[in-house]
């Protein structure tokens, strides 16, 4: 089993001819993902690494099943690309593009919800189910990706793309491995929060524990804490909160766009307290995560 993607998952890349998209398209193909097309307006008819490029999304959805799309178009075109994908009937949408104002992110997510589509991101890297499917730019080149992500029992959700790989690497080195890893995005408004996604892990029989990486800013941790308490989750959760130094610097923003600390519920200290109260183990150091997971699953 796997979360969101599966063995047969086929997707497209919007903005496929950009510098970053070229990189990860090649990486995904080498990893074994099924990328059946790419879209860049004005570049229809070309090919990158054997993947045909089209001008519009519908040219692909008209003739083939498209399970998902990865959007990496420049900022100004990102919402439009998302609307195009949603209107073409695509249900799983990863938005990698950074710097989308929250008004636009909110509008895209609302539109997606009205059409039964799910948005991961913006400002995320996507999803990996080790050895099954890689959907997005998480993990880097296929060789590195295979080193960091080995199949296993821990689900990972992270507001930071880079830390998703870091944590999965540590879980892999420790022998626990990863069931599904999702980089959810670091912006204040994202399509899928921890609380939106945790039920998917709850239903995934491969997942025995979940690790979440969090940062200052936002209320997602409080929401996750509430969910686990209300639903008596079967899954032990281990969390790590980065950016504690920011507690000493009110109003400053570091890291992702969502990290400004201005509300009480936002501060790393508050987040840790809330999560501990909900029975979530909070790691003091990033390196403690694998051992905490082991303790919690009794292994």
């Amino acid at each position: 089993m796997a979360v969101i993607v599966h063995e047969d998952f086929q997707f497209i890349v919007q903005g496929i001819t950009g510098r970053e998209a070229l990189n990860f398209t090649r990486e995904c193909l080498e990893y074994g993902s099924k990328i059946i097309g790419g879209v860049t307006p004005g570049k229809g008819g070309r090919e990158v690494y054997g993947v045909p490029v089209y001008d519009t999304v519908r040219e692909i959805t008209d003739t083939q099943r498209v399970d998902g799309t990865v959007i990496t178009v420049p900022l100004a075109f990102a919402p439009d690309a998302a609307y195009e994908a949603i209107d073409a009937g695509i249900k799983e949408i990863i938005i990698i593009t950074e710097g989308i104002p929250r008004k636009d992110a909110s509008a895209v997510v609302e539109y997606a919800a009205l059409h039964g589509a799910r948005v991961i991101g913006p400002n995320c890297l996507g999803i990996i189910v080790p050895d099954v499917c890689r959907f997005g730019s998480l993990g880097g080149p296929a060789v590195d990706c295979r080193k960091a992500f080995k199949p296993g029992v821990v689900g990972v959700m992270s507001r930071s793309g880079g830390m998703t790989t870091e944590i999965c690497n540590a879980l892999t080195l420790s022998g626990l491995g990863v069931s599904t890893a999702i980089s959810i995005g670091g912006d204040p408004v994202i399509g899928s929060t921890y609380a939106d996604l945790i039920p998917l892990f709850e239903a995934d029989k491969d997942t025995k524990a979940v690790v979440v990486y969090s940062e200052p800013g936002g209320t997602a941790e409080a929401e996750l804490a509430r969910w686990t308490q209300e639903h008596k989750s079967r899954l032990p959760i281990v969390a790590f909160v980065a950016g504690r130094f920011m507690d000493e610097m009110p109003g400053m923003s570091f890291g992702h766009a969502g990290t400004v600390v201005n509300k009480k519920v936002d501060s790393p200290a508050d987040k840790m307290r809330r999560m501990r109260e909900a029975g979530i183990s909070v790691a003091e150091e990033i390196g403690d995560i694998p051992n905490l997971v082991r303790e919690r699953i009794g292994n």
Binding site: E110, P188, P216, T259
Partner: protein, 397 residues
């Protein structure tokens, strides 16, 4: 990006939101004149950005002489290295009733939301003290704002008759300008209902979505916002301005936010989350970071080169730690090229200047070869972030 209150009020006024009588002044004498024009007791608000000045920046005075004295004190405030940008002198009517309104984005529903209460204050604080007095209504950033949403909110504040109609107009107007100007937060912390039934806004706090600053340029120009003014809580240092410039000049990848601290370990670190984790880790092991940086995306070699030179040229920094989480799209080899190029251009040997190079992940084999050629040890992914930070701190002391 925080607006000064007088700027926020200009936006509100332009959109027909009723405001209390108010005047922006630059000197103590002007404050006195403004106070006598308004008559009676007035309130003086120093126009500041830095947090923690909420109490210090506001004074209520009984008369024009008091206004002059208070203004002199307020103008001397330290606003994170800046002077206050003038003083708002305002009437302070006491009405029959007082309200607060707050517009923001709700990360849980991913929708914009209005919260209101029939008392003054910041909704966030009222949420702790008087949760039962807060009413909320979500709206949409996808569809145009419809007045009935404001009406329903007014109704839940138990308003009726003309009060309901007036409140509906104000809330609709605010919601539309909240969306139109890409505000991230808009807090009307105090709005009174005056004797004659009119409403007037007293206190406003507003924040612009920083990512929308380019498309909101016309509005910002109207308000006289300088192009490079990011309204940081403190004035950016030369180091920070230079970092921002390097970042802006090359769109390939990012190296920001970049901030200056007073330590001695130069940090060439990434990415968003990795930088937060690494900065915590360096401090936990007793190190003093000289700066913050956040290499993200896939910066060009040139950008990494310039960042390296910037950090290494900072007074008090002799060596740099180049560290990151396991990278996916940032390329370890391109970072290695940039760092080595930067150090070499400054006339140093890479091995004398790099405390540690821990950037595992994408293209790590190439990065290792590059470093080997220049005699720098490469730490692979088996060296944890905590361990890398510990080694860097150990080497510097």
């Amino acid at each position: 990006m925080r607006f000064y209150e007088f700027e926020a009020k200009q936006l509100l006024e332009k959109h027909g939101i009723p405001l209390v009588q108010s005047e922006l002044v630059k000197t103590a004498d002007e404050a006195k004149t403004a106070a006598s024009k308004i008559g009676g007791p007035v309130i003086l608000k120093a126009q500041v950005i830095a947090p923690g000045l909420t109490t210090a920046s506001v004074q209520e005075v009984a008369d024009p002489a008091g206004a002059k004295a208070a203004a002199a004190t307020l103008l001397g405030l330290d606003d994170g290295g800046r002077k206050p940008n003038g003083i708002l002198v305002e009437a302070r009517p006491t009405g029959e009733a007082v309200y607060s309104l707050s517009f923001t984005y709700d990360g849980t529903t991913k929708l914009p939301v209005i919260a209101a209460a029939n008392m003054a204050g910041k909704i966030d604080d009222l949420g702790d003290t008087h949760p039962e007095r807060i009413v909320r209504r979500h709206f949409s950033a996808l569809y145009p704002f419809s007045d009935y949403i404001a009406k329903e909110l007014a109704k839940s504040l138990v308003l009726g008759g003309n009060d309901l109609k007036r409140m509906t107009r104000i809330v609709s107007g605010l919601a539309r300008l909240f969306l139109k100007y890409d505000l991230a937060d808009l807090d009307i912390t105090s709005m009174v209902k005056l004797g004659e039934g009119r409403f007037a806004v007293l206190d406003v706090e507003a924040d612009l979505e920083i990512e929308a600053r380019h498309r909101q340029r016309p509005m910002l120009d109207d308000l006289g916002f300088a192009k490079d003014d990011l309204r940081q809580v403190r004035e950016p240092t030369k180091f920070e301005l230079e970092g921002a410039r390097i970042d802006a000049e090359d769109p390939r990848g990012i190296i920001s936010p970049i901030a200056e601290f007073d330590g001695n370990i130069g940090l060439v670190i990434g990415a968003g989350g990795g930088s937060l984790t690494l900065t915590d880790a360096v401090r936990k092991h007793g190190g003093r970071p000289a700066n913050y940086a956040a290499i993200g995306g896939n910066p060009s070699v040139d950008k990494a080169r310039r960042l390296t030179k910037l950090v290494l040229s900072k007074p008090g920094v002799d060596k740099i730690a180049v560290m990151s989480n396991v990278v996916s799209n940032t390329r370890a080899d391109l970072v290695a090229r940039g760092v080595i190029k930067g150090i070499t251009e400054l006339g140093f040997e890479p091995k004398d200047k790099i405390l540690i190079f821990r950037v595992p992940g994408a293209w790590e084999a190439d990065a290792a070869k590059i470093l080997q050629k220049y005699g720098v040890e490469y730490c692979d992914r088996t060296v944890s972030i905590s361990e890398a930070a510990r080694r860097a701190v150990e080497k510097v002391s």
